[in-house]
């Protein structure tokens, strides 16, 4: 039972990060490898603001807004300059950005480990013989509400639809009057903000260091790929599958092979269903 609960709570953590990947992917077909760094920067800047005496909710707003600005900066200063280049080139730019952000964070925050207060106490809750922390519920609630936001945004708002249009065909999108530049910049801002929110939700449980973004980003990326890139429900399904796989392979087989088992399953899924569990089969773009 504890394995199940742990799997679900860890899974939602991954799902939160995976959602951030999906937004930029939906807007520009690019996988933003700096997503994990947004998570880290969101959490660390919130912690810094909080330690300066700001109340937690305001510190969170500040941290999230700051990270969103960083997202815009990344888009304007690096990604936009390389427009017209292939998706691969842009993805590599984001890898470079992630290394840069990590270095920057090391200079600003040093190598110390930071902690953040739990939102509503640390008294564990009992559930069918297993335990979880109140913070885990916050993470779950965060993931579900972000998913709802995501779904509404892309399916029912003009801006969301415009964003999707940019992903399908930038030239056509601009021809029908969509300002592609603005759309792309806001896609980076939104996904950076989402990353920061997940960082803030996760930090009380996992602590935060300047280099924690890499591993979180990688797990979130795996979850997004597993569930189907670009779909919010896919991100949750992928995250949960990944979390449960980890928990059960560590619990039943051996904790030494946890990551190996997980990645073998991901490889198998991608082998037989390359678009992910919930991914739609796309028509070949020419």
């Amino acid at each position: 039972m504890q394995f199940l609960i742990t799997g679900i709570t860890v899974g939602f953590t991954y799902a939160l990060i995976a959602i951030g990947f999906s937004i930029i992917y939906n807007a520009s077909d690019v996988v933003n490898f700096a997503q994990g760094e947004f998570v880290m920067i969101g959490a660390l800047s919130t912690i810094s603001l909080h330690s300066r005496g700001l109340p937690l909710p305001i510190a969170m707003l500040g941290g999230v807004a700051g990270t969103a600005l960083l997202g815009i900066a990344l888009e304007k200063l690096a990604v936009e300059r390389a427009r017209g280049s292939s998706v691969i080139t842009t993805a590599i730019i984001t890898i470079g950005a992630s290394i840069f952000f990590r270095g920057l964070a090391m200079v600003i925050w040093g190598k110390e480990i930071y902690q953040m207060p739990h939102f509503s106490g640390e008294t564990p809750l009992r559930l069918f013989g297993a335990t979880l922390l109140p913070q885990h519920l916050w993470v779950m609630a965060g993931a579900v509400s972000l998913m709802a936001f995501f779904w509404y945004f892309f399916n029912h708002t003009l801006f969301g639809k415009a964003m999707r249009a940019c992903s399908y065909n930038k030239t056509a999108a601009s021809l029908v009057g969509i300002r592609v530049k603005t759309v792309l910049a806001s896609a980076y801002a939104i996904s950076a903000a989402l990353g920061a929110i997940s960082g803030v939700l996760i930090a009380p449980i996992s602590y935060m260091t300047y280099d924690a973004g890499t591993m979180l980003g990688l797990k979130g990326f795996a979850a997004a790929i597993l569930g189907g890139m670009g779909s919010a429900s896919g991100a949750i399904v992928g995250g949960l599958c990944l979390g449960l796989l980890e928990a059960f392979s560590a619990g039943i087989i051996s904790s030494s092979y946890k990551d190996a088992v997980t990645f073998i399953v991901i490889l198998l899924v991608l082998f037989f269903k390359p678009s992910g569990i919930l991914g739609k089969k796309e028509a070949e773009r020419v």
Binding site: T6, V10, I113, Q115, P124, A250, S255
Partner: protein, 382 residues
């Protein structure tokens, strides 16, 4: 063949010529060569080591030096890289003509230069942890920090006193964790301890409840978590979350204030072995180390801020070297080496050193104190 001979001859000639020009200068000072990881990943270790060396060499020189000669520190930043360490050691020996080598912040750097040191026959005191540095004994190589083997022995000794014979082990995936795990398995039979669960985690994992749930299902009487960084704090919190009541032992890797802050309430009752330096003020007056560690701590903190055990290793190395040079009445390398090996009853920050031809570290288990976290602070348990 011919070519190599020419090279060797010309190198010899160059050395000789160079020696003639600088020998007059060299005789004035005792040259201490050091290579430390002042930048790079191990900089939290290397930085206090260099500061300690500089601070005390200045003090010794102000008091007139050693055997009437001033000490001269020649230092290179190896950044924790084995290749750099190796190059710098060759440079220190051949070009700077140093009398003794101190340094090697990480075990990797130290192990990388041992061959050169042995070949060039120069006394070398390392500040790195791995037991492989002095086991088997190398003629010219010594070290000052305690090893992970001793930390494990100290934990097992404490468990024996409490009547614990079945333990669950949980470790991370860094070199420190793995080396500790190896020692945990190696020493268990000697102390009549059975390891009933052996779990691992990735140092970046955010949750260890799965592994701990498995441990809860065994008949372990205590849990040992040998690790570094934030993971041990998560382990402590998860243990509390799961309501596991078993005593938890940590390694000396988390003997820091930071760990106490991170783990908070969950740290209460945790035991771990640590160097005396961390609890300097709490040592009983009868403790032979009390005077040395409080003096070092006060001096270092007055100048640079919070003290760490790593700087202490440099203090121990420097003064073992200085004492040996005094006893050797000069800097003859073979004599100094012999005198380092004869170090007896030297009280350092890491413990009381008693070196011998078969032990080039010279510390015993009394170098570690067993600490318990009480009310958010360390207490010494006996």
């Amino acid at each position: 063949m011919m070519f190599r001979r020419v090279v060797v001859l010309s190198a010899l000639f160059a050395c000789f010529a160079w020696f003639l020009t600088v020998s007059a200068h060299a005789a004035d000072t005792i040259k201490i060569g050091s290579f430390l990881a002042v930048s790079g990943n191990a900089s939290i270790l290397g930085d206090p080591e260099l500061k300690t060396l500089q601070m005390y060499i200045e003090e010794i020189n102000a008091a007139g030096g050693v055997n009437g000669k001033k000490l001269e520190l020649i230092h290179y930043d190896s950044a924790g890289k084995t290749k750099e360490a190796n190059d710098f050691v060759k440079k220190l020996i051949k070009k700077d003509n140093v009398d003794i080598l101190l340094g090697g912040t990480t075990s990797g750097e130290t192990l990388a230069v041992i061959d050169v040191v042995e070949q060039e026959q120069i006394p070398f005191i390392s500040f790195a942890g791995a037991i492989e540095i002095v086991e088997p004994v190398k003629k010219w190589v010594f070290k000052t920090p305690h090893s992970d083997k001793m930390a494990v022995a100290k934990i097992y000794e404490d468990m024996k006193k409490r009547g614990i014979s079945k333990v669950a082990v949980i470790t991370g995936n860094s070199g420190f964790d793995k080396s500790g795990l190896k020692q945990l398995h190696a020493l268990a039979p000697q102390y009549g301890i059975t390891i009933v669960a052996d779990e691992t985690y990735d140092n970046n994992d955010t949750d260890m409840t799965t592994q701990l749930t498995k441990i809860r299902g065994t008949d372990a009487q205590a849990v040992i978590n040998f690790g570094l960084g934030k993971a041990p704090a998560i382990v402590a919190k998860n243990i509390k979350q799961l309501g596991i009541k078993l005593p938890l032992y940590e390694s000396h890797g988390v003997a820091t204030k930071e760990f106490l802050n991170l783990a908070g309430d969950a740290a209460e009752g945790i035991r771990l072995p640590a160097a005396a330096l961390l609890v300097a003020e709490k040592l009983p007056d009868s403790d032979p180390q009390k005077k040395v560690v409080t003096a070092y701590k006060a001096k270092y903190e007055a100048k640079y801020g919070p003290v760490s055990t790593f700087g202490g290793h440099a203090y121990d190395g420097l003064f073992i070297a200085v004492e040996a040079i005094k006893r050797a009445k000069g800097t003859d390398k073979a004599k100094v080496r012999d005198e380092i090996e004869k170090t007896k009853g030297f009280i350092g920050t890491a413990g009381v050193f008693n070196m011998s031809p078969t032990d080039h570290m010279g510390l015993d288990l009394s170098a570690f104190k067993m600490l318990e976290v009480k009310n958010g602070n360390w207490e010494i348990v006996n």
